[in-house]
Symmetry: C2
Subunit: 192 residues, 2 copies
């Protein structure tokens, strides 16, 4: 029951932050949306900032699981795992009407410059994804699928950042074109 209340608060926080942003979301509207009293909120979260961090962990934990599952296919060539990862992500955004984007990217835009604590947390999430990408690139190179002249760490980070940029553009283009441009350029010219 308690765990369920916390879960509902985290889920509603995620939905609100995704649409309106963290700063623009009031705790009151989160509480009303899930019909939870204020005292209950402060039982689970010390402050709005603490809530923001826990929602971020909740979201990035889900994303990390999803990412690891997408890449956990030793039977497939590494570049095909990459391709499936981005194709699956694109399919998710098709369903979401090209809205929302990634909470890590959204909060980086919003909280970068406003909170050093959030900056560190967000940078760590980005770096974790870049590390997964770099590992896949190394494996692709070791298998002779990719040119050894691509620096795994550099290209891994570039792809994470570029993907965030594609999601940002998607939100104003309201079309899959930025994701398609990313996939096409990445697989035609970088992951080769």
């Amino acid at each position: 029951m308690g765990k369920d209340t916390k879960q509902r608060l985290l889920q509603q926080g995620l939905a609100s932050f995704m649409t309106k942003g963290f700063n623009h979301t009031g705790i009151q509207e989160v509480l009303e949306a899930v019909d939870v009293p204020k005292g209950s909120f402060y039982h689970y979260f010390k402050s709005k900032e603490d809530f923001g961090k826990q929602v971020l962990h909740f979201y990035s934990g889900q994303m990390l699981e999803w990412t690891k599952a997408a890449f956990d296919h030793p039977e497939l060539p590494p570049l095909l795992r990459f391709r499936q990862f981005f194709d699956q992500a694109r399919a998710k955004f098709d369903q979401a009407g090209y809205s929302g984007g990634c909470l890590v990217g959204n909060m980086s835009q919003e909280m970068g410059d406003l909170s050093q604590e959030f900056e560190c947390l967000l940078e760590a999430k980005m770096a974790a994804l870049a590390g997964i990408f770099a590992d896949q690139i190394r494996e692709a190179q070791a298998r002779g699928e990719m040119s050894p002249d691509r620096d795994p760490v550099l290209v891994g980070n570039f792809l994470v950042n570029s993907w965030q940029g594609a999601l940002l553009r998607m939100k104003v283009a309201k079309s899959p074109a930025p994701l398609d441009a990313f996939i096409s350029v990445a697989f035609d010219h970088l992951l080769v």
Copy 2:
């Protein structure tokens, strides 16, 4: 005098939006920062939304001028113009302590999903920059500086989006590394 007041409001709006975002900025604090009465604000701007749009035009007008000046060097090879453009942008962010980013990107993240009017406006600004990039790529290809297998429109858009992604990451990394990764990958593997 009147023009100066409007200019000061736009400049203060730009500074506030850059740090705190559009939604999180109150008109009252903008007025106080430049010591302008409320009535004066509503003489120039119909609403906060109108103010937001005019600040966006003010900023992107400046950026467009700056971009055009950076590329307006017929004596230089197109790829060198590109290089100088990104190097100059990087130098600006060095000075700014890797904060702020680009208002068009920031507002895309913030207002995408919240306002169709802003979405259209922001997409148009992004597309204008992508158009300039595509022209440079076409010229580089015509001069034999770049492989004809790069699609100018696709790569132009990819670079705009990836640059926005690099700026987003810069804001949480608080370092030039994401900009350097962008420049290095773009010039080693895409603009070739």
